[in-house]
């Protein structure tokens, strides 16, 4: 009888643990240009399972996403190829990128104000730059800073974010920390 009880208890524990490991099947999308799915819910120094691009669909728990992006934590996701791992919740969005932007350029009144309230996109930045040469000049300076970071830290030969060497940033940071006698503490 005791043996039977132990078997049932063990089975229950296995079931609970299994349920905890299942990723709920809510549809989310990568909202940053480049994201990384890691083997552990830790810093960017974790082992990379897969690199994902903006718009890539992933499955995850919507509640975990909501709470994760509030607290800047990682969440578990499953990729279309079946692989699963952890990604920063703040890297994900609930609508496919681009879907919610339709019609913004031609909007006016309340819709236009709503678009402005959410900031802007590359296209609207272009319009603002055409309208205001001083703004355009300062945006070019921001571009110059980003290109320098992409070249010097992200290993991009052209300075474009898209051309970065995926391993360069973490290698540069590891070297910098090593030279300074620093170690990342969990």
């Amino acid at each position: 009888m005791i043996r039977l009880k132990q078997v049932f208890s063990s089975a229950a524990i296995v079931l609970v643990l299994s349920a905890g490991g299942v990723v709920a099947a809510d549809q989310l999308y990568v909202g940053v240009e480049r994201g990384e799915v890691l083997s552990e819910p830790d810093s960017i120094f974790g082992e990379i399972i897969k690199r994902v691009d903006r718009g890539q669909p992933v499955e995850g728990d919507l509640n975990a996403w909501e709470s994760g992006r509030q607290r800047n934590t990682f969440m578990e996701v499953q990729l279309p190829d079946g692989a699963s791992g952890y990604i920063q919740a703040s890297a994900l969005v609930s609508e496919a990128p681009g879907q919610g932007d339709a019609g913004l350029r031609t909007s006016s009144g309340a819709e236009g104000a709503g678009a402005a309230a959410r900031g802007l996109t590359a296209e609207i930045e272009g319009d603002l730059s055409a309208d205001d040469p001083e703004f355009a000049l300062h945006v070019q300076q921001v571009d110059a800073i980003e290109r320098a970071v992409n070249r010097d830290l992200r290993g991009s030969p052209t300075g474009s974010y898209d051309d970065q060497d995926p391993a360069a940033l973490r290698n540069n940071l590891r070297r910098f920390m090593g030279e300074g006698g620093m170690r990342h503490a969990r």
Binding site: V32, E33, S43, I44, F45, R71, N72, T73, Q88, V93, P97, G100, L104, S107, S108, G109, A110, G112, A113, G114, A115, A116, A117, R118, G119, L120, T121, A122, I124, E125, D127, L128, D131, E134, H138, V139, Q141, V142, A144, I145, E146, A148, V149, D152, L153, R154, Y161, L169, R170, N172, L173, F176, M177, E179, G180, G181, M182, R183, H184, A185
Partner: protein
């Protein structure tokens, strides 16, 4: 409904009454001889739309995607660069070395903590100002004032200043402050501007202006400044820097403010420095952080900045 939201809605309703007068569609209907009815109908449509948007939290930063935040941050950064000249990395080898150095420090701090993912990662730049100031914007941009290089004595103190700004980034303080204040002046000015031109562009430009004002004048709620100090201490510790460098930095800022004829308007918006020092001291003790200075890092600092 939150009182601030009510105020926001009422402000929108009043100001938007003017927006309807310049609408093309209203002008078309005016030409058709249906002036009053058309204006009323169009006005109602906008008012209903705005009221619904406010109710649904459309204007809150939670609805900003990483892309929205990134381009908002570029616009706010452009406003900051209008105020302070950029020290471009391509100006000289020394400028390039300084730029790379502050980025390595900043990226190290942000990689080790729970910083939000950004659309195109984080980027730090150097601006010319005698004040020991630094600013962070939405979307992952941090601007470090050259005056800081004169104030600090080692890499860990410089890292502490950057860590404070990184703390603002971690908690999205600029966007949260924007939420807190958007019931008032940002949207009011945005809608007033909308009456004079393209609503989308004018409102966007005013959004940048409002956010830049928050960032530059440190008009954060005091609790956000304390939170940025504490998070900064944690980021320092996680990256392997000396967490007590935050305390040393604040004491130097205090001395700077006491001895400078003009401590700079950009430091004026922070909470009383003595209270920040007291809170950071207590936090260091509570977390059990100990001092861990490094001669290697100080030598590295001096080779780049001295």
């Amino acid at each position: 409904m939150h009182a601030k939201t009510k105020l926001a809605r009422n402000t929108f309703l009043i100001v938007l009454a003017g927006v309807t007068l310049i609408s093309c569609s209203v002008a078309d209907k005016l030409a058709d001889g249906d002036a009053g009815g058309a204006a009323e109908e169009f006005g109602d449509r906008i008012l209903t739309g705005v009221a619904a948007a406010v109710e649904q939290g459309e204007f809150e930063s939670e609805n900003f995607t990483p892309e929205n935040r990134y381009y908002t941050g570029r616009g706010v950064s452009a406003a900051i660069l209008k105020e302070f000249p950029l020290q471009a990395p391509q100006e000289s080898d020394a400028a390039h070395a300084r730029h790379t150095y502050i980025n390595l420090i900043g990226q190290t701090l942000l990689a080790g903590g729970n910083a939000p993912a950004q659309y195109r990662g984080y980027a730090l730049g150097i601006i010319s100002t005698p004040d020991p100031s630094a600013f962070s914007t939405p979307g992952g941009f941090i601007w470090v004032g050259s005056g800081l290089f004169e104030l600090v004595d080692d890499e860990d103190e410089l890292a502490a200043a950057i860590a404070h700004e990184a703390g603002h980034a971690v908690h999205s303080h600029a966007m949260r402050e924007y939420d807190d204040q958007s019931g008032g002046r940002i949207f009011a000015s945005g809608y007033a501007a909308a009456a004079e031109g393209d609503p989308l562009l004018e409102n966007t430009a005013n959004l940048f202006g409002g956010l830049a004002d928050i960032v530059l004048n440190a008009s954060y709620a005091e609790e956000y400044e304390f939170e940025a100090d504490q998070t900064g201490v944690d980021l320092l510790a996680r990256a392997g820097y000396d967490p007590s460098a935050m305390l040393r930095l604040l004491n130097k800022v205090k001395r700077y403010m006491a001895t400078s004829d003009d401590p700079g308007k950009y430091l004026g918006g922070h909470p009383p420095i003595d209270e920040r020092i007291a809170r950071v001291s207590a936090y260091l003790i509570a977390k059990g952080y100990s001092e861990s200075r490094s001669e290697v890092r100080t030598a590295r600092f001096e080779s780049v900045l001295r």
